[in-house]
Assembly symmetry: C2
Homo-oligomer: 239 residues x 2
DNA sequence: TGTACATCAGTGAACGCGCGTTCACTGATGTAC
DNA sequence: TGTACATCAGTGAACGCGCGTTCACTGATGTAC
């Protein structure tokens, strides 16, 4: 019917690109990152393998797209989590975000492994993925920077920062927590590490047999690290 | 010359088994866990692939052996680390152990990924590996249980434990930190998670561009979590 | 000490499989006059 | 509106590769009498 010319082709093309990505995503869920093959994706779409090369330059390009997509999804999950806790105390916002991230991980184990697990052999991450990786981190740091004033004194539970700590954390501190004391930036890194580390260890089976109620243990751990960042107390100290 | 009969054969057999494992280990370092193939291992040894089946029942059996070996190696590294800090304050012992574990990880990235990274697709971990996985954990918990008396009050930085926390952590608490309060057990889990999580994230490239001095940031993080467990203060409180 | 026999290590060929990527091609879709 | 042409999506066959595992086999090593 309608013939908008090149736009038609572009639309169809965009749509098929999405379909390929979706199929690749399904394949990822079944076979895992290392086993993800172009041919298997093509099979799902009833296409011939070579046809995919019209849409993705190589298997690596497809992987990259999946990685970016996964990072965006965790970021979105975190964001939704925080929004659900809007207006509540910072600790609760942090808990909500962390739980949302964990839930996403439990629901998408292969996607999680793709971005936070061992690097896919032979795959070299292009800059796009590095940028995308920041999505979650941004959400988490926003909670912190909303709750902790630049001049706030770091929680007493934190050790005295050694000389050079500020410098060591300069890039992340400057970009995501400008003006906050180095101990707080370090604590934020610790909290983030705890979150990602926990979900990875849980997914990869390292708590099996040791912890019976993972939900409870997780949220206690998240509360603990929230305290390190200074989210537990009233915050907003002015000097 | 000597012919001790069946013992000779057994000795040769044991030796070749070790050589195969060593070759598999080299192959792992080059190709990564997912890419580890029996044929490649055989090539390294100038053997024919089928010959390996006299020594390992399958590729999975070989993987299992490598995994057990890796766990033992991290455990040994941790042990050596603690020993080097014998007699010094608990925090220093913890730092020594943690640094040793991290160093081992940085030196053996593929072994690390094998045990703490994404599970190898299609591989099902047998019980042997689960037992072996406890080696590091034991070393770390020994530091804690030596330093923190059963009746010690948990550090004030820890949140009030919710009802059920003790139950959630019952298995690990009973086996590795008997009698310690649930908050302390939880903090130990957090410390362990921080250690393994940190090294994984560092190895997998997640701190790249954000932290410039990883040694410094790592040891500050480890000091921080040591404080949560109660290693920082004088410890040994009696009730 | 010597010989017949059993055990076992290692060989070589083969099975059936899957992979990423290339290339020349057919037809359909869109464009320009 | 109609036709000649260019673009582009998708096909099908092929390339060269690697994989885990099996099987019947040859010879050497050890054992029992």
């Amino acid at each position: 019917l309608s013939s908008t010319g090149v736009l038609d082709r572009a639309r169809v093309r965009a749509e098929l690109t999405r379909e390929i990505l979706a199929a690749a995503h399904d394949e990822l869920s079944d076979a895992g990152a290392a086993g993800l093959s172009l041919r298997a994706v093509a099979r799902r779409l009833d296409m011939v393998p070579s046809a995919l090369y019209r849409y993705f330059a190589s298997r690596d390009a497809l992987l990259t797209a999946l990685i970016v997509e996964a990072y965006q999804a965790v970021g979105a999950a975190a964001e939704t989590g925080v929004e659900a806790a809007a207006g509540r105390p910072p600790v609760e916002q942090w808990l909500a975000a962390a739980s949302a991230v964990r839930r996403w991980g439990l629901e998408h184990p292969h996607d999680w492994a793709l971005v936070y697990g061992s690097p896919v052999p032979g795959y070299q991450a292009p800059p796009d993925t590095i940028e995308a990786a920041l999505a979650v981190t941004r959400v988490l740091c926003r909670i912190v920077s909303d709750a902790v004033a630049p001049a706030a004194r770091p929680p007493t539970a934190l050790p005295d920062p050694p000389a050079g700590l500020a410098g060591a954390l300069q890039p992340i501190g400057a970009e995501l927590l400008p003006g906050r004391p180095p101990a707080v930036v370090a604590a934020a890194v610790t909290a983030w590490t705890q979150l990602i580390g926990w979900v990875s260890l849980e997914l990869f089976g390292h708590y099996v047999g040791g912890i019976t109620d993972l939900d409870l243990a997780f949220s206690y751990a998240m509360r603990t690290v929230a305290g390190l960042v200074g989210l537990a107390d009233s915050g907003r100290g002015e000097g």
